[in-house]
């Protein structure tokens, strides 16, 4: 059976390259047939905001690449609803690439994963 890997996004984009790098890891690992879960918690929910324009900082917008998670067969894509609410963000403001869920579910996914990556 293939090993499962949870990739946890917990930081806002562009201050660091961690969002972009985790995304690369997710897509690469999926190409090697690992069972990947993408989890968006805490400030990581800002990774999915629509209408990002990092060109004003002379940086590349990596957010459209989140749409590739589905194409690469990464079916588990979860956002912590509590963390969205806490930040006053609604799902309509996000790219339609992941679904909201409880913290309990996120905890369970993490505990059942063979590997967990954060950056």
């Amino acid at each position: 059976m293939s090993k499962s890997l949870s990739i946890i996004f917990n930081k806002a984009p562009y201050g660091l390259q961690s969002g972009r790098e985790l995304l690369d890891i997710a897509l690469m690992a999926a190409a090697f047939d690992m069972d990947i879960k993408a989890l968006f918690i805490e400030d990581g929910v800002y990774q999915l905001l629509d209408n990002q324009q990092p060109d004003v900082l002379y940086m590349k917008n990596h957010s459209p690449t989140f749409k590739a998670l589905d194409l690469y067969g990464i079916e588990t894509r979860l956002i912590a609803e509590h963390d969205l609410d806490e930040r006053g963000i609604t799902q309509e403001q996000l790219l339609p690439v992941a679904e909201t869920t409880s913290q309990e579910t996120i905890k369970q996914v993490i505990s059942e994963s063979d590997f967990v990556f954060m950056l």
């Binding site: 800002y46 990002q52 004003v56 957010s63």
Partner: protein, 85 residues
């Protein structure tokens, strides 16, 4: 001395605040701009416009928005700046 604190990580807000005195100011830059969009935000904070736009965050009317030029002017209005890292 009147000090402008420059904060670039949202996780360091409370540390930074505990170092601040009454007439000090704080400007949120880089990832710390997300603080402005949260309930705990104080409207006295300055927020760097370019970093909001980059992250797809829409400024609200009661925020003190500064663009890069405004940021430079702001640093001149204080005796010194501290980059809280």
């Amino acid at each position: 001395m009147k000090t402008l604190y420059i904060l670039n990580k949202p996780s360091l807000l409370s540390q930074c605040q505990s170092a601040m005195s009454a007439d000090d100011g704080i400007i949120l830059v880089e990832d710390a701009v997300v603080i402005a969009a949260q309930d705990k935000a104080n409207t006295d904070y300055y927020v760097l416009e370019e970093d909001l736009i980059a992250r797809g965050l829409t400024p609200k009317d009661d925020w003190n928005i500064k663009d890069y030029e405004g940021f430079v002017e702001l640093t001149l209005a204080y005796d010194k700046t501290v980059s809280w890292l």
